[in-house]
Amino acid sequence: MSKAKNNNGYLGVTEPISLSGPTEKDLMQTAEVEKYLSDAGLYESQDEAVLREEVLGKLDQTVKAWIRKATRISGYGEQFVHEANAKIFTFGSYRLGVHGPGADIDTLCVGPRHATRNEFFFRWLHDMLAEMPEVSELHPVPDAHVPVLGFKINGVSIDLLYANLAHAVIPEDLDLSQDNILHNVDEQTVRSLNGCRVTDQILRLVPNILSFRTTLRFIRYWGKCRGVYSNVMGFLGGINWAILVGRICQLYPNASPSMLVSRFFRVYSKWKWPNPVMLCHIEEGYLGLPVWDPRRNYRDRGHQMPIITPAYPCMNSSYNVSVSTRYVMIQEFTRAFEICQAIDEGKADWDALFEPYPFFESYKNYLEVNITARNEDDLRNWKGWVESRLRTLVLKIERYSHEMILAHPYPKDFSDKSRPLHCFYFMGLWRKQTTQAQEAEQFDIRGIVNEFRNTICAYQHWKEGMDIEVSHVKRKEIPLFVFPGGVRPSRSSRTAHKKSRTIPTCDVSADDQVGNLLGVASCSDAQPVPCKGSYTKQPDPNCAGGFQLPGSTSVLPPSLPNEVVLNGSANFHEESVEREHPEHYQESKFATVQNAVCHVAKQPNSLLPNSNNGWQLYGSDSSLNNSQRECSGSAANNLLNLSPAIPATPDELDELVSSNQIKANQEDVNAERRPSLEIGSENNLEQICSLRPQDSNDNLKRKANQELEPLELAAPSTVAAAQSTGTAPRKPLRLRLTTLGKPKPAEGTT
């Protein structure tokens, strides 16, 4: 077990940045924070707390009765039956003390070696629970990466994991923090135990638990409001946020919650990712289990935002994070930090931080993922599977476009009352801005969408009726059911702007309202090609010959200029197309499924002057989809325009200048700022080189990322995920990585 405290007398891998305690102002702000959290309904009532304790007590008695029964069935004598024991532990938000009303309780049952998981836990205990009248919604998931038994007792939702220890008898005072309990157990047990071991270790490593709890409640709530709280979608989950907050508590051990919140956003908006966030040093241990080490484990090298768990075996808890989601989170940290500064200056209040993220107004282009099944049970299972794989679509888009196109997944699903047994997900698409004068490269993502669909439909528990459809929709075509009350929010300034950009079509007039109506009608009619009416008559002269591929196939050294790098990317693209080609012509039981992606044509002469740097996607001559042949005449003219942002208005420009001036006056904690993803081609080139030293490794990293499951994905999915089978590497050296140097003599005020 890692040392909770260094010899130097501080917690964590570095010295604190500041030992200052709260000022009078901080205490007032902290009181406001606590009142805000309370008013937001984040604390459960006394009655609910009592009910939870009763439920856990009931469960404790039940597992003890179960283990005695299991022991007797196994043929042991009465004395051994009498001594047989099983214990429950909790972890996650409940154990951390930051759970809200109605939250699940993450629970672990620890049993002795003769009570095996499949035979006893998922059979005998399942049957005992099924017979209890107070138990409902019993839902076993034995094939999950972390096997789980989900159910409710008296309405309280429980996710119960099982750890099958090597012990003959489980002592009532069993200490899960001892590393030796990991000896001679299977990997499901290691993963099941990790939740408890990590949760308890975090609380051992933070200097002030009460401040930690308040700050963590705040950050979790903020993350949910801003749409960055979802491990399965590639953002962060509860354990990630806890480690991030814990690290801030270590750096500012005497600060009050309001100060910790502000420092949280400041530190992580400037963090030099992928430098890892750690609460303690990584130790090899003696049991041979792999720990996180990007120098030795190639899979660890591709992690975008490593947040390392503090209990052996230390691992990255946030391997789901992609380039896109990391970018979104950094933007959110930066926005929040600016608001904190305004709060500190008395120009704003805490409300501003929690303004819901305006997802459906932030992008011009979206992908809509529509899934369906024949009944509620099938839809629930199908939904769990699809949801767990959506992040692979983000990764495919990033890889295919060499990270020129990024995808922002919305972390929740939607349902349309007019279409029962359907479920919808959305992703915002945007293009990374460059300063290059030449016309933007165009990408056709239909191939990777089809690849994604094929992967999804290989679901091990697939049933007749399960289907998925991925469509491109423009902002104005977003269906109404995603908006509160089914009403699209009005944006008068954008409406005016939108009119000037409307594209004439052969079927409809240039009137904006009519266009919206058509979009809605198309969706409700569920036509095979919803955007058919948007096709233009005139072909695009630039696309006549399809994509021009250079002949070179050599591997490029990183020191070459940017233009040559682009040629390298082009080669990668060509290779990708060739690989995907055979899949297209394979017969499949889903051959009759209609076109998954529709594109809107746009004439180049209609582009606005400030869109010259925008990229366009267009289809190649050859059709990648059977259904596309129905529209072969105009397929070559399909285009997808992905402009990253609306051009800034003069007012916004003034605000930006003002913001820059403020930033210039800030005291910079880091020696140098990490370059923005959108700044300068030179930095871009540097980033590309550092992120992908070799193309061959890139594929391996992507595959590794796709194989891994999130640490916290214990309950919701019925996924039969492929088991991760890696041989334990050589014992890694002790790893000391930090992005923060020694603290300055005194913390300057901002």
């Binding site: 009592v50 304790e53 009763e54 404790d60 909790t90 003390g97």
Partner: protein, 439 residues
């Protein structure tokens, strides 16, 4: 001296009356079958069963399922009539040690009475408060009976306190009780039931809710203190406290709690040196507590959990039908609306390992919860509380018990049997997990 003869164990054929000539300080050990009558009589000399003398020249029936030892100080001849499960004699007993212990306690009682007569302080006028502890099947109940009977024979009126909720020697299991013992305990009828003081825990196992068990102990001790303060004779006679056989973990913790709650000043440890050592260490800071190690009798019969379970059922049945099945309980029907059923202690307690780290439980383990009457209640025992208001239930003793025989959800009526006819003394009832099925 003629050697004692031994009958074969498990004899199936009817046995003629047989006599045993017992040497001084030896005993005849007999295990009685459940369904075959057995009686004993004293032919010559003197003999006793657990401190109560056998009458001369009269047959005494022995209760079914009893396991008794007929001991003689100076030699005796006894005669058995009927079939037994086993019977044999032994001359190895700890009786001399036990009676010496009694003599010491008797001296303390005499000193206390003298102090009371001379207007001494409360402590000086307090007789010995004896708590008998030890693992299961070490003879604790038997030792309690002997100490009580010997004291009563000398004219004292000691108070018997039974904390063993698993067995129930004063009343049914699931209770902690106290009663004065004014004469030697009857061989047939056992401990008299004229005026017991009963607090209802409702389960045979204290781990279900240890906090409620502690609260009830405190309430019982509080009531006894009031009685002692108003009755110098009772205070001088002191008390004998019987305990459970669970002496590890929570059981040990509850033992320490009992010693403190009842202010025991004599701890008799039966049959386990480790427990004696632990208790000596635990109380060594208190100079007024004596911890005495006593041997257990080799004749103590081991009982498995099935036996205990059956004994519990029979004790419940005896409450309604009598030991010899000679009583007739009354069947009654009551409307749901005419009674209120409560459960002490709410649900199970969450283990500390499952609570938020550093948090204290928010659920009061001794809280009262109203219970909906349902068919789950059939075959269970409900206690009738003396409380006037629901919130007084946990601090009140109980008047008696009923056994639920039927619950009619449609007509909202509950059918039960009770030892006495007429209306219930109170409408406040306490639910339990004690069950009995009429076989």
């Amino acid at each position: 001296m003629a050697a004692a003869t031994t009958a074969g164990a498990g004899a199936a054929t009817p046995q003629p009356p047989r006599q045993y000539k017992l040497a001084p300080q030896s005993e005849l050990r007999v295990e009685v079958l459940p369904d075959a009558p057995l009686r004993v009589r004293l032919v010559t000399g003197t003999a006793e069963i657990f401190g109560t003398e056998l009458p001369p020249e009269g047959w005494v029936p022995v209760p079914p399922r009893s396991k008794i030892a007929i001991f003689t100080w100076h030699g005796a001849t006894v005669e058995l009539d009927g079939v037994s499960e086993s019977e044999y004699t032994s001359d190895e007993t700890p009786m001399v040690i036990y009676v010496n212990t009694h003599a010491i306690l008797d001296a303390r009682r005499a000193r206390a009475r003298t102090a009371a007569a001379q207007g001494g302080d409360k402590e000086a006028s307090q007789g010995p408060r004896v708590i008998v502890v030890g693992p299961t099947d070490s003879g604790k109940s038997t030792l309690c009976k002997m100490l009580l009977s010997w004291a009563a024979k000398l004219g004292w009126k000691p108070t018997y306190v039974d904390l063993d909720i698993g067995q129930g020697s004063i009343t049914i299991p699931g209770c902690i009780s106290a009663t004065p013992i004014e004469k030697p305990i009857d061989i047939i009828d056992g401990i008299p039931l004229e005026m017991p003081l009963v607090y209802f825990y409702g389960h045979p196992n204290p781990s279900i809710n240890a906090d409620v068990y502690k609260v009830l102990m405190k309430e019982l001790a509080k009531t006894l203190e009031k009685q002692f303060s108003g009755n110098a004779e009772s205070r001088a006679a002191g008390m004998v406290i019987n305990t459970m056989g669970w002496v590890e973990g929570l059981g040990y913790e509850l033992l320490l709690n009992a010693i403190e709650t009842f202010k025991a000043n004599v701890v008799l440890v039966l049959g386990q040196e480790k427990l004696w050592k632990m208790l000596k260490d635990a109380v060594q800071s208190k100079s007024n507590i004596d911890v005495v190690k006593l041997h257990k009798s080799e004749g103590v019969v081991l009982r498995n959990s099935k036996y205990r379970q059956r004994t519990r059922s029979f004790r419940i049945k005896e409450y309604f039908y009598g030991i010899a099945n000679d009583l007739a309980p009354h069947s009654n029907i009551v409307n749901f609306s005419d009674v209120s059923v409560y459960k002490i202690g709410g649900g199970h307690q969450a283990p500390r390992s499952a609570l938020p780290i550093g948090a204290e439980p928010v659920a009061d383990p001794t809280r009262l919860v109203a219970v909906n009457i349902s068919t789950d209640m059939i075959h269970t025992v409900l206690a009738i509380s003396y409380a006037k208001e629901p919130e007084e239930i946990i601090s009140s003793n109980v008047a008696g018990f009923i056994h639920v025989t039927d619950v009619d959800i449609q007509r909202k009526k509950l059918t039960y049997i009770a030892p006495c006819p007429g209306d219930l003394p109170s409408r406040l009832l306490i639910a339990s997990s004690l069950t009995w099925y009429e076989a």
